[in-house]
């Protein structure tokens, strides 16, 4: 896939300008700096074509990629659109000087952007940079007046000199200049990765090296760990896993690798044994590692109350280990080196890896999301049948999850609440928002009723945009907390009652005769069917095969005519379904704002920005495919281009 950078080309278009303006915010200052202006102009008049090109290249640097580009212009852009401000470009320009002129000619045709604009952007950028610089230099800060460019630069020179003076050991004497001292870079890497580096011998799992940062993560000091067996610090159940990863032998002959291009598993046909390890074979695995409990006394106390099993698992955290196999000929190992396996191998093999603690959430073992004990989750099919029940339901309802699973939630609702809950049920199926129910009574296993309040939302598959099921968070309402918002609830109840009155005749199971429970479940079925009918009538719903990329496209603000198409649908449906007139708003909500809630940021994506306008005329599937193809193509290839052999490591 080609994208075209360079405001020089796309700069003429309105979005480009706005993007530019945000990028170079505060850059307006140049306007009231006439001296600057003159200087720049003179600069232009003196400079050669090559220099001019370089200044325009500068202009491009700060540009962002513009989603909508003009197809027609793309061909002409190719010859020179490097948006770097390195001298390479300049040289390149000078080399094809004659080409350059021709190109500029073409460019002029495409973009009638006045040269002054380009110049202004360049100045703006420079000024922004100078402003930023002056903000970072201590000696500039106390000066209240605006410092001119030259002064800022001079102060920068002074500041840099003082900085270098204070840390001369790095910048002057290092054998290769670098922006960061090595020590510091290592530190930053580990800090960013939230991990530690370790080296483990393959034969016995002996820890040969571990970085200082392990202290922060596992709470063991480095000295404690070095020389120990890694397996002493691995969860017993993960031992096998780690052994397998360290294994050099044929104990696990079925090395499974995966081919990212085809997605097929390939049986490794690498040479076996040591050679496999030499090659810098990559390893990536998860294991649970022990951490020292001393520092987490508070947590420990907490867990005294819980089961012993939990307490046990509390000691571990999940670590993602990524790295390479490494091996050295034993002859190269010094006297102090790890004593090699004398008998068979002439190589000392080890795993060099980075251990990262999982950043997504707390380790799984203590990852119980803190939910109030009076809360539990359930998942219902569209017709209200329980498909998932959280174990905490048992404490509240008395039922084991398996007793509830497969039954309809309507079987447990108190009759008085049925109309309201049915109405909410309808609502949730048509809305992408979370829907709160009023307090309602749920029949427990012992025949009594417990008051619950639930928050429902229909889970919509991001790809098909179809409802998969309803997720419900149920909270037990104690009488005290209930009285708090009673007034609000009662008013809610009234309105919903009215709605329900209309729909009452439609619901077969809502007769008040006792023993009607058997029919209760059919209320849900009825409601689910309503939705299906509604979908059938509505011409737009996506079947599984339709690419959803058409949807965000439709919702794109640029095409308001498309969105308006949806409205008649929603209203029509509202009219057809009896008792549903009140929910017309929800329907609209579902079609527009509601739908965005899940996808919010992503729905901004329009295909053009990725594929280019040329492709959007293709079928959506093809276009989407094109996106993926291009994405995957580059990525897998680049990912594999790592040269393992360059890897050096000194013991």
């Amino acid at each position: 896939m080609h994208w075209s950078p360079g405001p020089l080309r796309s700069g003429g278009s309105a979005p480009a300008m706005s993007v530019w303006n945000t990028a170079a915010s505060g850059g307006d200052r140049s306007g009231d700096d006439p001296a600057e202006e003159v200087m720049v102009k003179e600069h232009q008049s003196v400079s050669l074509p090559g220099a001019m090109a370089s200044s325009s290249a500068v202009g491009m640097t700060a540009s962002m990629e513009i989603p909508r580009k003009r197809k027609g212009c793309m061909d002409n852009q190719d010859t020179k659109s490097v948006s770097m401000d390195m001298d390479m470009e300049d040289m390149e320009d000078e080399q094809n000087g004659s080409d350059e002129d021709e190109n500029r000619h073409l460019k002029m045709k495409c973009f009638r952007e006045p040269h002054s604009q380009i110049e202004k952007r360049r100045r703006d950028k420079m000024n922004t940079l100078i402003d930023k610089l002056s903000a970072m230099i201590p000696s500039c800060n106390p000066l209240s007046r605006k410092v001119d460019k030259l002064t800022v630069l001079r102060m920068a020179v002074q500041h840099l000199k003082s900085l270098k003076g204070s840390s001369s050991s790095f910048s002057e004497a290092s054998y290769k200049p670098s922006f960061l001292p090595n020590e510091e870079l290592k530190h930053l890497v580990l800090k960013a990765a939230d991990g530690f580096l370790f080296v483990v011998g393959c034969d016995r799992g002996k820890i040969v090296f571990v970085s200082e940062s392990v202290t922060k993560i596992l709470n063991y000091s480095r000295v404690e760990l070095i020389g120990q067996s890694l397996f002493d610090y691995i969860h017993p159940k993960d031992m096998e896993k780690v052994k397998e990863q360290l294994s050099a032998s044929e104990l696990y002959p079925r090395e499974r690798l995966i081919d990212a291009k085809t997605g097929l598993q390939v049986q490794a046909d690498l040479p076996v044994g040591a050679a496999r390890l030499c090659s810098g074979a990559r390893r990536s695995f998860f294991c649970r590692m022990k951490y020292n409990k001393i520092s987490i006394k508070v947590e420990e106390k907490e867990f005294q109350a819980s089961t012993s099993k939990k307490k046990e698992s509390q000691k571990y955290c999940t670590v993602h280990c990524t790295g390479y196999m490494r091996s050295w000929p034993t002859s190269q190992l010094g006297a102090e080196g790890e004593e090699p396996d004398k008998q068979d191998s002439s190589h000392f093999s080890c795993l060099v890896a980075m251990g990262r603690v999982h950043s997504h959430s707390s380790p799984p073992v203590n990852g119980e999301v803190h939910v109030k004990p009076t809360e539990f989750f359930t998942r219902c099919a569209m017709d209200g049948k329980f498909t998932f029940v959280d174990q905490r339901a048992t404490t509240v309802l008395g039922y084991l999850p398996q007793e509830l699973l497969g039954t309809s939630c309507y079987e447990y609702f108190h009759q008085d609440d049925l109309p309201h809950l049915a109405e909410r049920h309808r609502k949730v199926l048509r809305s992408k928002d979370k829907i709160e129910t009023n307090c309602y009574k749920f029949k427990t296993k012992y025949g009594s009723f417990v008051t619950l309040q639930s928050q429902w939302f229909s889970f919509v598959n991001p790809w098909t945009k179809e409802v998969e099921y309803i997720v419900s968070t149920n909270t037990v309402i104690t009488p005290t907390s209930r009285s708090g918002n009673k007034s609000e609830q009662s008013s809610n109840y009234k309105t919903s009652q009215e709605d329900v009155n209309k729909s009452l005749p439609v619901i077969p199971g809502s007769s008040t005769t006792p023993g009607a429970m058997i029919y209760a479940g059919s209320i849900g079925t009825q409601i689910a069917n309503e939705l299906l009918d509604y979908n059938r009538m509505n011409s737009s719903p996506s079947s599984g095969s339709v690419s959803p990329f058409s949807l965000p496209h439709d919702k794109c603000p640029q095409t308001p005519n498309q969105t308006s198409n949806n409205m008649p649908n929603g209203e029509a449906a509202g009219l057809v379904i009896p008792g549903k007139s009140s929910s017309a708003d929800e329907l609209k909500g579902a079609a527009f704002s509601g739908a965005e809630s899940v996808m919010e940021e992503n729905s901004q994506l329009d295909l053009d920005s990725v594929v280019g306008p040329g492709l959007s005329s293709l079928g959506n599937d093809e276009a989407a495919m094109a996106v993926y193809m291009s994405l995957l193509e580059t990525d897998t290839n680049a990912g594999d281009s790592v040269d393992f052999e360059e890897m050096h490591w000194s013991l």
């Binding site: 510091e184 995966i258 998932f388 290839n637 050096h648």
Partner: protein
């Protein structure tokens, strides 16, 4: 009249020229002070000089009071040793200094190699972002991933190099609440970044750049005094799906774009108890714990829009009851494996998942889902 004008013009031209000369000299001074190889220094243009200076100063500020000074202290200790050496008989002095120099050189070399090792193992590069999204620092190996060198990128804004559709997400990540700063909050996002690498690993220029999907993880770092710089430390890694030894605790599966199973390897039966046939056509959303749905949805959206994703940890139900913690790495790949169950296979895209099982079966006696109930 005209002559006068001409004269005035000439004067101002001369003044401007002088001005430019002075400016250029300052720029040269500045570029010479930058920790760059002379070959690079000589060819920097003016904005680049400022850009890199800015980065250098920012990094310095950021690290003040940390290892920068630690390393300095180490240096001082060494200097001290040299000075102590000075008290020894004179004739030894020269030799010792040389020795020190040599020692330092090799030490330096080793340190750099070790650092390279860190980055290599990371299989990615390090990026330090200011709260405005300026890339204050990038590790040198960035060129391997983006095809652009450290010097070309440093000081630029990340928004210039990332997919417009990811900007909102980046912006959100850059928002630092006081709590974030205090606790060093973590960040985790999947981004598309410009890559000027050709499929063969050579770099071209940006015009033919492609999007590369990177998994960026890291944390907020703050430095308080004197001028506070808050930043994000991120490691950016391509998502590796290939060439990893899959352990016995890993299974692979393929899904249609709506996350329904179209294929799964035998190992899933061992790990989750579901037979591969049983899973065909089932949605992954049926198999997960209800509390992890948001997690999976985000993962799914990443896949739809960015083509690759890392799920983070979530719970997958086990057929016989209970659940296991897993993490899935997935990518959208073109073309489904033609199978007997789906001979048409005209779905052009399919999701490939590698799922790592992280834990044993937890709460094995619990039946949470209809799928776990034994049908007799």
């Amino acid at each position: 009249m005209t002559a006068d004008k001409e004269k005035r013009r000439a004067i101002s031209r001369e003044a401007a020229r002088r001005r430019r000369r002075v400016e250029s000299e300052v720029f040269e001074d500045l570029s010479r002070l930058l920790p760059l190889p002379p070959s690079v220094q000589a060819h920097l243009d003016k904005p680049s000089v400022i850009r890199l200076t800015l980065s250098y100063i920012r990094m310095h500020t950021l690290l003040k009071g940390e290892a920068w000074t630690k390393a300095q202290a180490r240096h001082r200790v060494k200097c001290g040793r040299v000075m102590n050496g000075g008290e020894e008989p004179r004739e030894h002095d020269g030799g010792r200094e040389e020795e020190e120099e040599e020692e330092k050189e090799t030490e330096e070399m080793e340190a750099s190699e070790e650092t390279n090792l860190y980055l290599r193992i990371l299989e990615g590069f390090l990026i330090v972002l200011s709260t405005e999204g300026d890339m204050i620092y990038l590790s040198e190996n960035v060129s391997k991933y983006m095809g652009l060198t450290q010097n070309e990128l440093m000081g630029h804004n990340i928004f210039e190099f990332t997919h417009p559709c990811d900007h909102e997400e980046i912006r959100n990540s850059l928002l630092l609440t006081p709590e974030d700063v205090w606790y060093g909050a973590k960040r985790d996002l999947v981004l598309r970044i410009k890559s000027a690498l050709t499929p063969r690993g050579r770099s071209t220029n940006l015009k033919s750049a492609t999007w590369k999907v990177l998994h960026c993880q890291g944390r907020v770092k703050v430095c308080v005094a004197p001028s506070s710089v808050s930043c994000l430390l991120l490691t950016c890694q391509p998502l590796p799906l290939s060439h990893t030894l899959l352990s016995t605790h890993t299974f692979t599966s393929q899904h249609s774009m709506d996350m329904r199973f179209t294929y799964s390897d035998q190992r899933i039966t061992l790990l989750l108890g579901f037979s591969t046939e049983e899973l065909l056509g089932r949605s992954i959303y049926d198999l997960c714990h209800a509390m992890d749905i948001n997690h999976l949805t985000k993962n799914h959206l990443n896949l739809c829009f960015k083509s690759q994703s890392v799920s983070g940890q979530y719970r997958m139900l086990v057929r016989s009851g209970g659940y296991v913690w897993v993490e899935t790495h997935s990518a959208v790949i073109p073309g489904c494996r033609p199978s007997k169950s789906r001979p048409d296979a005209n779905q052009p895209l399919c999701i490939l998942c590698v799922t790592y099982v992280l834990s044993g079966v937890e709460e094995p006696s619990l039946q949470l889902s209809v799928d776990q109930i034994v049908h007799i």
